[in-house]
Amino acid sequence: MGDRYNIHSQLEHLQSKYIGTGHADTTKWEWMQNQHRDTVASILGHFDMLNHVAIAENENKARLKFNLIEKMLQPTGPPSQKKEDT
């Protein structure tokens, strides 16, 4: 056990409740996956961004939304088997 329950562990506990936060053992793949999901979420959440991407892809917005949501499932592809550190 560490020295004592201090502000660090409280803060970390608080942060760990949010998906997308990381810790010392976060892998590149995990981090990137979160980035991609955040990106997609951001596009979906901003009306103008969605319009922009829709025009650029020449895709209807509903379809685009669907595609993006689908993409969130595994945005960066499957995880690599071997332990990845940077």
Binding site: Y18, G22, T26, H36, H52, A56
Partner: protein, 1289 residues
Amino acid sequence: MSRSKPAKSSAELDQQMDEIRKKAAESRTESDDYVGLGDIAMDEEIYDGGKKNKYEGFLSSIGGNDDDEDEEDEITARPGFGAAKSAYKVSLAASKENAKSGEDFDPMAEHKRQTVADRENEYQARRRKIRLSPDRADPFADGGKTPDVSSRTYSHIIKEHGLAKDTADVQQQLRDKAKAGELHVVGTNGSAVPRKRARWDVATPDAVSGSLPAAAMDATPEQPQKWAATPQQPQKWDATPAHIPVGSATPSMPTGVSRWDATPGAQPAAGAVKRNRWDETPRVTTGSETPNASGWAETPRADRGDGQETPGASKRRSRWDETPMAQTPSMMTPGMSTPIGMRAMGMATPTPGHLMSMTPEQHQALRFEKEMDDRNRYMADDELDALFPPGYKVLPPPTGYQPIRTPARKLMATPTPMGGMGLAGFFLQQESMTMNKGIVNSQPSDPDLPMMKPEDMQHFDKLLLEDNEDSLSPEEAKERQIMKLLLKIKNGTPPMRKSAMRQITDKARVFGAGALFNQILPLLMAPTLEDQERHLLVKVIDRVLYKLDDMVRPYVHKILVVIEPLLIDEDYYARVEGREIISNLAKAAGLASMIYVMRPDIDNVDEYVRNTTARAFAVVASALGIPSLIPFLKAVCKSKKSWQARHTGIKIVQQISILMGCAVLPHLKSLVELTEHGLEDEQQKVRTITALSLAALAEAAAPYGIESFDSVLKPLWHGIRTHRGKGLAAFLKAIGFLIPLMDAEYASYYTREVMIILIREFSSPDEEMKKIVLKVVKQCCGTEGVEPQYIKDEILPHFFRAFWNHRMALDKRNYKQLVETTVEIANKVGAATIVAKIVDDLKDENEQYRKMVMETIEKVLETLGSADIDARLEELLIDGILYAFQEQTTEDVVMLSGFGMVVNSLGKRCKPYLPQICGTILWRLNNKAAKVRQQAADLISKVAGVMKLCNEEKLMGHLGVVLYEYLGEEYPEVLGSILGALKAIVNVIGMTKMTPPIKDLLPRLTPILKNRHEKVQENCIDLVGRIADRGAEYVSAREWMRICFELLELLKAHKKAIRRATVNTFGYIAKAIGPHDVLATLLNNLKVQERQNRVCTTVAIAIVAETCSPFTVLPALMNEYRVPELNVQNGVLKAISFMFEYIGEMGKDYIYAVTPLLEDALMDRDLVHRQTACSAVAHMTLGVFGFGCEDALNHILNCVWPNIFETSPHMAQAFMASVEAMRVSLGPMRLLQYTLQGLFHPARRVRENYWRVYNTLYIGAQDAMVAAYPRVPNDEKNVYERYELDYVL
């Protein structure tokens, strides 16, 4: 004119004022208490300068003591543990209290920690009579395979309960018969018959201690009396020496009572002895009595009662009259112990067995007694030899000497059973009495363990043995280890406790449920347990439960026996703890196990068991959901076999609704259906509890769910017509809670219906009924749809006749309920109607009653105002309150606040009465009793606003002068109130019109600032602050400076309000006389030792900076930073931090000025330095958001950033705060760039800190960071590029 009576008119008032003024002027010349305008009182402590060693031993940093603040396990917040601060005030009452101390007065008694047992009432104490039942088989283990035949299963338990019930029935029948006189004693010859009789005596208790656990609980007090009263002499049976434990020195002597009685010394005559022995019934103190607890053969001593302990040999009471029977062995063994101890408390001679169940006080008394005996014993020859110098010889006794040989005296010389054996079994190992003067070895052989208390010996005695650890069997070693951990948890220091708690939790599964609970549970049953200890042990159970999970199943009942009593504890936190444990237990063991274990208790013969079980079931329901329990409850509530089961089932429903509140709504229908048939049960008790649980359900459901109750309305209505007494009260209660749920139309109809009954019951003599009736009236009248006219016509006359009388004022609860109900009625019928009805009673001769009237009027006027009170009533009202106020004798705020409320509510209409009111106040200000003066002054502060409203400024001026004269008051409470009154007057008439003028008033206040009483301080500083704020120009700057020095002292105050007012006053003063002098004072004060003082000073500096603009202060402040002293530098940084916090965006003008200073501070070696600088940076950064100071901010960020590796919690917190502030002002992108360097650093400790910062950023600005993430190239397997971001149109 002597002021022998209060003034009635303004003229008289003026005269009085003049007189007072004259008198005061005379006295003032003599007093030298004041500080003259010219002389400067410098604060020696601060300005003595020069002495080099003044700061030696100071803490060198502000945050030096911070790190011991968070002691996780300290539970000081719980009532009974805190209450520290006020200790240094010795009140008058306390010193009086001390004066009355007699011989046996224990001045520390009130500080002693109460044991749980001490504050239990008789009902709660019954928990200790319940046995921890033996382990039960777990039918759900091993996938439900057939349990071992020998194990204790459900059928065994049910059988036992049945047996217990039969026993109870038979006893009840016998009791009834005895009462009815049918039970005759057969024969008095005492040969064959007594034997038969006496078998009862033995048989019942055998059953109790042996196979029938429940019987112990149901034995009612009458039963043993009956047997003892029979004119037989069953002494022979009393002896039952079968169970005397080994090692007990008590011979079974009771049979010989008469022999001892016959001795001339002890008793007068044999005849008399015979009479008093059997004619009187022994006093029975607690419920259950078993013969081996001495009830039978004891002599009826009149003075024998609980707690009258006569231990030791020196008591002159002949202790042989008592029968010191030994306890059954179960009393001794820690493992199985059921301390049935209450009864034993009353026994005059403690036998060894009793020691275990004695309270610590009794223990102490006994030990003291023993020590006295030891010290005063006769000296032995060899001791005398050692004592005397050589040359002494032993003389032969004189020839005629006859040693006293009367048996009575000889008796006294015999040691008590206690005498030879020390306090308990293990003392025997110690050396002889001469060496060991009763000092108990309480340090376990392992020096790391905490000390034991005497009462811990029973459980922890094994730790005293100096055994070799290796010689123990694994089981014993495990037991010993648990014991050590428990002792550490129970008696150890917080860190010890914490680590032990952790160990016991971690190893819980290794130890196993059995080993753990066999030690914890008996500890929890000990009568000497204190609140704190219970809390800790309950915590252990909680933690252990979590780990053990389904391994607890065989112990569920044992745990329940121990924990259920917590549910009816008076302490709220104990109840919460109990609930939590039971709910965790339910989750660990599962519903089936819980039902299986608790089912037999539902129709237990003992009401106590059923009550606690019902509560426990409610907790189970809340833990596992109501729906899962409903099928079971349905079966229980409809039980045909016993009414007790139905009663308990319905009670569970009641408890569920009390516990879960509106969460019952989804299941309301089914819960009502469960109970409804109970309204027509053949048992009165079941009907009553049904009505009560319907009331609870309705209360929980309010204001919804009336449709669920449709089915019970009719039986309820029928019920109130057919029931009387207690049953009726319950039914009325249910209806009272149902009516508010109804539509207006129905409510009106039903109110009319029920009102007939209610009015009939108005005259009921039963207190409980009265309270319920009042409550129902309140609920009915509060409901929409009940017409005011109807209330006026139908209810009011009866209501006032029945309830507004002296008797109702006597009982606190009645009083409260009556006031509430009357106020509720007033809400419907208007204030005037109610006030007119009771106003005359303000002049009643009964003070308590007047108080009730006053409180009602206060509350009515508070909610409804006085608009509809006419002139006549107004007159009566003022007359009444004046009378009531003057006649009050008790020190109570009711009259005061009532007076204030009436006057404030009448407002301008008070004008004609003000002279009279002021006359009264003046009259009372002059009273001898301090409390009266205080109330008069308080009243001034209440009516000041109204006086202003009535333009009575002259009158207020008068009052101001009078109050001013009374500033010499010596009682601090009164002085505080007088200052408060002055403040109120100053507030309403303003500085200019104030009499006495401010320039006279303020110098008079300066010395009062020195007063150390909190109330005086608070009111004085408020008044001074007010003057500094509004009328600073009336006083010279020098006077203000003097006040500044006084104010520094006030920064030490404990009360935050005082410190805050002081700090604000600094601001006002600085505004009035310019910041320069004030600042100099404050900066000097940064050198003082106390942390709190320094912190407050920094706040004051910041406030001065805020009120006088920072540029007036900042140069001096920054200059002060050059003083090479840590405290000062830190103080400056802190002041800057507060300053930036207060000035907000004004900070943009100063950021470039302070940047070099901050830069320097952030590069300091001292941690606290950097920490304070970080928090200053945080405040500053937030202030300048959006003002284009990014260049400076980025520069500062570069200085802040290296602190990312600091580990001290306060430093980390300050760092995080500044990083967050930077995120806001610099934007998350910039911060992300800083963070990226370390996210995948090879060193883990670096990564950890960087990820923490990253996470903070991420949570704060997730969306914004999308654009700033670095480009990561794809690899052969994964796509990392975010192509969407590259789209360009």
